[in-house]
Symmetry: C2
Subunit: 275 residues, 2 copies
């Protein structure tokens, strides 16, 4: 999916919502546990209920790995389902991988060739040769961690170097040379508020994947005020707030309603802040 | 496995070798491809041939994930095999995970409860709350990336802050407060040579997992000269150099010989540098 195609989907749906499929076997409605593949059944229903209100899905690998082989099967089936039924939706494998070159090559092969997702999140700590192997797939996206939504983001990402540059800024500045904004996005947490201005000084045109609205407390309005650009440039993720909107038999309907609510807010934001 | 138990194994075997199971379906001997589970068959043979010469195994998750569900099965079976046949060997899942708290919790559950490995590698970029969930398992190890073996380690890990501290030093200094040296190890690449001295100034007593000897060009002698402490404090990994020592039917025998060669070098190093 190209940047232009992504923007077209955003315009068409008046939404830049990414639904995070953090599907936890211990949190999905109990009556699903009787089904053959509870995580997949849950995902399928959530996807059908939310597809009209979002432009991307972000399955979080941790939640699938935690149940071993069964979880991987559920993940693969979920990806296949989205690709077949909703081919316009970007699928982001939230994996936060990153390793030495030959290993990152394997991860890239795994996500892009085997699982056929459209994007993967990657950690920058190990530098250029750990990220580059993900960038040889021309029509796929690498989403690099820059400034995350959690409290621990202050531990290292905010470290200021001798030139007065913070680590997340250095990550943005250096990595933007590795590929264009047609292949590279960045993770910037919604909880970072006004820091989106500093991010936009370095990467004005890139898409940002923004977790942290909802359960983590970030403000959608702030993200849009400081982060939106001419092609929207934002994919705002909500996971728990959408997929666990109800824990009962109406879970899919409730997720759909929650996604719709977010879509309406996003429509308003697009009207207000799209440059 | 406690630190003392690990040191006892090292003394007993006169080896601090970790064999990296970077088992690549495209690189294992061709005749194995006919077997039911080629990766597992390969691993089993390699493990049997090398177990007397090493104290740890480090399956690299990327290589298993790259073949999807089949690969996960091979990984799980490999871990089960080591646990059953060689319970004294530390099993390190080389996964380089790290995410916001609730997600790291899932990864920790996955590796420690589901797959029952003894250690997992974790990336520090997201800070304390991304690492802490791995530390609630009292008898398991977290191995945090500090100074990696690859060229890209210079991109961010060597960044010097306003106080003159490099990022890898800050990672060591801050993270050593999160848990004791009974639970935390660090990845320091063999290619970093004299920098082991600087690492040891901050974490004199911790075990270090050292990749990069062999295919990546690091020197065992240098690692030991600057990195060994009173309990050895080193797990030196070799992956490709051991497991692909031969690509023919004698691959297991060749791997065993290569591991033995390394063990003999390590014995010499222990004689020379053990404090």
């Amino acid at each position: 999916m190209t940047k232009q195609q992504l923007f077209e989907q955003i315009q068409k749906k008046q939404s830049f919502l990414c639904v995070g499929l953090d599907s936890d076997i211990e949190k999905i409605p109990e009556h699903l546990l009787d089904s053959d593949d509870p995580l997949y059944t849950f995902n399928k229903d959530i996807i059908d209920a939310t597809a009209s209100y979002c432009v991307a899905y972000k399955p979080n690998l941790a939640f699938y790995e935690s149940t071993g082989v069964k979880g991987w099967l559920a993940f693969e089936k979920t990806v296949a389902y989205i690709r077949q039924r909703y081919p316009q939706h970007l699928i982001i494998a939230d994996a936060k991988r990153g390793d030495i070159g030959n290993t990152s090559e394997m991860y890239a092969r795994s996500f892009f060739n085997e699982m056929k997702v459209g994007a993967v999140t990657v950690a920058p700590y190990m530098g250029e040769d750990s990220v580059k192997p993900f960038l040889i797939y021309p029509d796929r996206w690498v989403i690099l961690l820059a400034l995350t939504s959690n409290k621990g983001s202050a531990d290292f990402q905010m470290t200021t170097d001798e030139q007065g540059e913070r680590l997340f800024e250095k990550v943005l500045r250096i990595s933007r040379e590795w590929a264009s904004d047609e292949q590279l996005m960045y993770v910037v947490g919604a909880t970072q508020g006004k820091l989106f201005e500093d991010v936009r000084k370095i990467v004005p045109d890139h898409f940002l994947l923004v977790p942290g609205v909802g359960a983590q407390g970030g403000s959608l309005e702030e993200v849009c005020r400081y982060g939106m650009n001419r092609q929207c440039g934002l994919l705002v993720n909500s996971s728990r707030g959408v997929i666990y909107a109800s824990n009962d038999e109406d879970y899919a309907k409730a997720a759909g309603e929650e996604a719709h609510k977010l879509q309406l807010e996003m429509k308003e934001m697009l009207g207000k802040y799209l440059l």
